[in-house]
Symmetry: D2
Subunit: 353 residues, 4 copies
Amino acid sequence: MSSSFGRLFVVTTFGESHGAGVGVVVDGMPPGIAVDPAAIQHELDRRRPGQSALTTQRKEADQVEILSGVFEGMTLGTPIAMLVRNTDARSRDYDTLKDVFRPGHADYSYWQKYGVRDHRGGGRSSGRETVGRVAAGALARLALATVNVSVVGGTVQVGAVRATRRDWDQVEQNPVRCPDAEAAAAMARAIEAARDDQDSVGGVVEIVARGVPAGWGDPTMSKLDAMLGAAMLSIPATKGVEIGGGFAMIERHGSETNDVFENGRHLTNFNGGISGGISNGAEVVVRVAVRPATSIGKTQSAATKAGGSAPFAIEGRHDPCSCPRVVPVAEAMMAVTLMDAWLRQRALRGREA
Amino acid sequence: MSSSFGRLFVVTTFGESHGAGVGVVVDGMPPGIAVDPAAIQHELDRRRPGQSALTTQRKEADQVEILSGVFEGMTLGTPIAMLVRNTDARSRDYDTLKDVFRPGHADYSYWQKYGVRDHRGGGRSSGRETVGRVAAGALARLALATVNVSVVGGTVQVGAVRATRRDWDQVEQNPVRCPDAEAAAAMARAIEAARDDQDSVGGVVEIVARGVPAGWGDPTMSKLDAMLGAAMLSIPATKGVEIGGGFAMIERHGSETNDVFENGRHLTNFNGGISGGISNGAEVVVRVAVRPATSIGKTQSAATKAGGSAPFAIEGRHDPCSCPRVVPVAEAMMAVTLMDAWLRQRALRGREA
Amino acid sequence: MSSSFGRLFVVTTFGESHGAGVGVVVDGMPPGIAVDPAAIQHELDRRRPGQSALTTQRKEADQVEILSGVFEGMTLGTPIAMLVRNTDARSRDYDTLKDVFRPGHADYSYWQKYGVRDHRGGGRSSGRETVGRVAAGALARLALATVNVSVVGGTVQVGAVRATRRDWDQVEQNPVRCPDAEAAAAMARAIEAARDDQDSVGGVVEIVARGVPAGWGDPTMSKLDAMLGAAMLSIPATKGVEIGGGFAMIERHGSETNDVFENGRHLTNFNGGISGGISNGAEVVVRVAVRPATSIGKTQSAATKAGGSAPFAIEGRHDPCSCPRVVPVAEAMMAVTLMDAWLRQRALRGREA
Amino acid sequence: MSSSFGRLFVVTTFGESHGAGVGVVVDGMPPGIAVDPAAIQHELDRRRPGQSALTTQRKEADQVEILSGVFEGMTLGTPIAMLVRNTDARSRDYDTLKDVFRPGHADYSYWQKYGVRDHRGGGRSSGRETVGRVAAGALARLALATVNVSVVGGTVQVGAVRATRRDWDQVEQNPVRCPDAEAAAAMARAIEAARDDQDSVGGVVEIVARGVPAGWGDPTMSKLDAMLGAAMLSIPATKGVEIGGGFAMIERHGSETNDVFENGRHLTNFNGGISGGISNGAEVVVRVAVRPATSIGKTQSAATKAGGSAPFAIEGRHDPCSCPRVVPVAEAMMAVTLMDAWLRQRALRGREA
């Protein structure tokens, strides 16, 4: 408790990394929306391991099965359950992890919380849990598209390398998922360097929602910024989130950051499209700090269940930088958050948006 | 919808800045906890306007009345309602604000959302709403103290001035609420400079929770980081939140940020006391980006309801930097978030903590 | 936890019978709805003690104060807090109740649950808590009226006396609140007989909602019948609820109770206006079993905190039949439940109703 | 929205009667509880169609697959997803139901609510949705057993035939699931008579929980009676619920129904083990009114989508009385409700129960 996100568009994920499968139940999807399973599969394929040399080589087909809620290609308004089987789950022997708490991972905190744990590759704390989020996000996108709201995103920083352009069309053209082709190459080199050093590197993912009308988000505790904060910081490996100008606004003055509004548009967007917790008609902009991946080949000291410590290194290949695969997950969480805010606004005003 | 935070320790605030009053209902406070009303009043006094030359001079006694849930100095386990009357609410004529959307404020987005608004000084979007949060946080602190969990906080950056020390005892010794006496003086000068320029300046508030045992926080959607993200970004004027190393971790490697755990403690705390969304026994550390205050004396262009624009400047005195007064609010939201996580863990394990 | 009802129209009551006051926060009231405080006061007056010789003579003015959420006579869409002060709270000495668990009351179960209790007249378990419900219900009625939904109710059985007519206009014409003038007289005699015998008697309250369009109520766990069941059984002294034909349908056959639908209307209404948990366009009909009041003058054995027992009798006058005062409360809970279902449907379909 | 029940033990069902399958996600199951899949399958087998001549002959193996949350036979504390495939889903041609609203069914109200519907055998409104409830209830039973709480139930009335004994051991000895062997035979005859007449008959199911300690249930809106009311009235075909004495208490007096408490036990149990919404240590007793089944062979008038009406009769065999199969479902909902109340109490008091 609790694996659910949202009040009206309720996304509940389930599954461990090496159990039978992972999945999601989406409760609150409006009826009458056309669902092309390929659109969902497309998003899952973006999240899938093994897409490039920069990501882990775990083999997972990640084929989604829609179990309910869709009939004759149309949503029924009933819960939509989706399941992805784990197929590469038994390929390694995880017994060595049974009595050790891997550095940086959640092994120790899970053990303290639950008193039991699934030591096979992270269990519930694995990034594999995000499969369900991405599937739910794909549904949210389909619904949001009916009111012309869309979501894009990409990696805008890796280590010290920053993107200076936002050519969102570039994102799927490079393995880093960077909206700046030139920076992408430098980012790839930074990732390879970390990998070659048996290490990992962090980054920043930026997500932008377009077409969001003014009025979404619910003061005071369900402000759109607050819900986005929860959404993003619930993604594994994230340790920071900022809206619009974020931390960079601190060194500025109110006269710069007040986003003067003239002729129906804001002249700047320091507030990232959200004023007082409510969308203001500008693009909604969120950036997420992605920690260096915890699974590294370098040997570190690991605590043991017995109370001592032992040298430890991750074998096999893992993602040296999580950003490329966090992108579709963070996009999904943006879509899911907007979906919930949209439905709340429909409830409040009794009209489409 | 919705003004409630938390699942088991449910904090619901109410009130507009110039209505009859502001307050809170706290549902889920455990029974049998001694409540000294002075402890609650103390926290409200820290949040109150007019404490120093650096803050707004609005006169509010902010005397809290406990309406329910406490009997013979002890919590009953029933909802605790607390009310603070607005006393300085009629001292200004707000009619000039009726048809204008102040730059940077939530006037326009509220109008778009609700179709009506209380134009008197921000109404519900006013920082005055945080009175209820602080009162709730004071209750949470009383309960958390029974298991030796405490919360401290302070302003660690104003404009370009950064605190380099964390002497939490210093916080109430300077009007900036900075845990670094030397930096405090420089921060005060930065605030005064902004004020003298009819402008405002941003900053960073850091909150630290001590004594949190390993095991609090609920994967996957109610991770402790996620709940803290929502808590902090629901505070007016916040635009960013980071846990532990936060955005600064991006330029580091996994071998540095994995927080090796030996002999029962973490050697570093890049993860801010949270692993996999669950407290890991280290101090829980959160930093919040506080935007430059939107109410400034400088003239800016404001949109009007009629669709045009007009020059606009805030009259009277307002906070040129929100940080000193955000500190007790952010501390309160940390306490409230921990309280909820604690009660969830009690439910999960059926024991004290 | 928890004193809140509803998901989108969230009603949170607070207050003990002999504390400072009782009240409610309503979060989710749509904006732009005219609020006449007299309409709220009118409903509270119907619930108030001392209205007739058949009810308790506790003196309470029950004057409601709206603390927030209403501006210039219009709802803002923000939480509406309402407070009723307890004025007759100190008139009795409750010390004799400190160490005794009154028969039939919740004294013992509260003590077991919380480990502390407010022994003054029931504390939180007192029927006085329903003040907040009635105030919330009055708001719900104002909103529902904008789509021509209205709620009526009355006492339809007292002891063995049953109403055979449903002249809702009669309800406020007799102290029993019975929609059958003839039966009302017999009911009054039954109540007086119980009272004269230092005893109490039970009854049935029926609530009818008119104008509810087809489509309200959310399968599968938030079916309209389920939500009404929770709403009614959360009212003190209720021990049963039935929808439409209810328990009387058991001895019938499907061919009778299927409510054949022709020419846009149901020929019968055994299902009480709800099919599959969703309103079907017919009147929504609910009946509530109201237990004989627990406070009686007759001497009974009461358990003591010390573990023994002692003869016990309630002094002073109490309601010998709760039905007349349950009527406005049950009406309020019907209105609150429909309000929540309505807002959910607006979210689902993105239109008025 | 919404298909979830419970706040801490959250049960979310999914699935349509003729889609890929039906199932449930249980979020909030405590960790470390042994799970024997056979115990879950046993409960599903009790609910399964085709168990006797008195129930529908639809062929469904109803084999449950646990997809997550259980590792090495032990709960992990993570969500437990369970899936049952529909195997007999394509055996009939449902096209004739496409444009007709079956009498008594939810076809029309679903259509009004959602604007689309799955016309194949009821879709989401089918009793088949209860598969997920029963699986969740089986988990709840396993957890409750660790504190010696158990749940029994049976059919206590069919048509005019009432059980006068409560030999719970008899329940699985007769196809009616009646705890009174003699009455069971008469009930079976009543069901057969209805069936032979192409009709159906109603009944009452009683559920009893033993071993519930005093203190479970949360005033004021989540009272144990209220939660049981919602739980039971969310089961298809139910139209009434009563606690303890229920409607029969109306004709009694307070001096009889106050359940005098002496020497640690209540002398009577008119309040069904619940005082003020909190368990009082006595057995928790609930009775549910089960409407005559809507699917009958008799020809009735049915409305058509086109706005007219047409003669309609259900072909094939259906349950002429729902009670025998409602018994395991109502037991499951009792277990689920108690589970949630138990976990809330653990949160409140920070101890086992």
